[in-house]
Symmetry: C2
Subunit: 228 residues, 2 copies
DNA sequence: CGTTCGCTTGAACTAATTCAAGATAAGTGG
DNA sequence: CCACTTATCTTGAATTAGTTCAAGCGAACG
């Protein structure tokens, strides 16, 4: 039921039932196959999405054709509230990693909801502000910290987001290549490979083809936070 | 007159007079001396500001005590709309560079204005979204581009923002030390100094103690955009 | 069973940092 | 007005984190 999905998003959480119902019943459903795109960078921002099933990658292409990953998202994550703004374009690509399902609202519907329930506009402001602060922190991280630490944080973030318990730790439940981790942390696949190998040698992680398992969260946190 | 100042901010521009008047008459005035802070990182976000006179620096301190500059702002720039959100804290410092004057609204006032004129909430969303996209671009820049190019862009941005015509080019009308440029571009003051010296030798800029003059915008743009 | 794709590792290289020393310029107080 | 002090800037030399390139390994997949 859409209603329950919405209740789990931070955007809709704790709102009165009447608003949830209004939003849920105004939603469209969109299915996107793994590898396909919800939208591309530069497309007119027409729809706001809440991911229901699957996983997706937020990425940007540099003018030179180099790709960087701005984030990886899973169910109940909201994307594209910029669609509420007339004339806006999406600032990045949203690509499904696995077959995915999303609820979606177009601008007119969104505006109707905002007009009926002004709290939704404030919530949108809240959401973008929170993302802004997060991005600011990652910016600072990129400007001031070494690759090993950035990679440690990226893995801790991913484990928190999409971790699945495994026999010897927690596995990141996404096919995640070295190249992806490199684009996520602003480095090269070689450096990622070397770093993961070093960590594996001391038992912090286990990793293989497009897969990383975190075995020793304490020690990885120590690296991320620069503790003893 | 406050009304005119507001008309020049992108946040208020093109709004009906009645809204501008409502906003202007609800504003408080705050004066801050050069070097003093409007607010600190971590303070409860109580006020939204529009800078009227002076210049200010947006900066963050890392847990290790290293500072990075997120931006430099001048008159008619809006800061701190996060104050509209209950429980939020400022994510960075805002420090006056010169004696400054700002219009300011506290949360209750802001909410009253939002209720009376819902377009203001949408505008807030618009503003934060625009800043978000800008920051994303700078993030990509930091992740993928070399220091020289980042510095070139930073200087072009500053010239556009606070440039003042001079005899031999356009001067950045701010006391701006090498260290400031380093913190703005994610590098060290030494690298900034070397790069500016190299540029000065080929006539792209002239620079001295806390001062940079851009003499050849075309060539600096060529560096920023990686043209021939 | 061979081909493909992702991963690893070594070696050379480089952009940028770090550290040190000195030069230059701007106040400050006698 | 000049010496003193302080802050900013420059430059060189050594170092290093990370990149780039090349070669080869190994698991997945048709």
């Amino acid at each position: 039921m859409h209603h329950d999905l919405l209740r789990r998003c931070t955007y809709f959480t704790d709102l009165p039932d009447v608003i949830l119902t209004a939003a849920a019943s105004a939603a469209q459903v969109r299915r996107v196959l793994g590898g396909e795109f919800f939208f591309h960078q530069g497309d007119p921002a027409s729809h706001f999405y809440v991911l229901a099933e699957g996983n997706a990658r937020l990425s940007q292409i540099t003018p030179e054709g180099r790709q960087i990953i701005m984030g990886l998202i899973g169910p109940s994550h909201e994307i594209g509230i910029i669609a509420a703004i007339a004339g806006a374009v999406y600032p990045l690509d949203l690509q499904a990693i696995q077959d995915s399902l999303a609820l979606t609202w177009d601008r007119a519907t969104l505006r109707t909801l905002f007009d009926a329930h002004p709290v939704l506009a404030l919530r949108a402001l809240h959401m973008v502000s929170a993302r802004f602060v997060e991005l600011q922190d990652r910016y600072r991280e990129l400007a001031t910290e070494r690759v090993e630490r950035r990679l440690a944080r990226a893995i801790l973030r991913l484990v928190a987001q999409v971790g699945q318990p495994a026999s010897d730790g927690v596995t990141i439940a996404l096919p995640l290549a070295r190249q992806d981790l490199a684009e996520l942390t602003g480095t090269t696949l070689f450096t990622v490979s070397r770093t993961l190998s070093a960590w594996e040698n001391v038992g912090i992680v286990r990793s293989g083809r497009e897969r990383v398992t975190l075995c020793d969260p304490e020690r990885l946190t120590a690296i991320a936070e620069d503790l003893p």
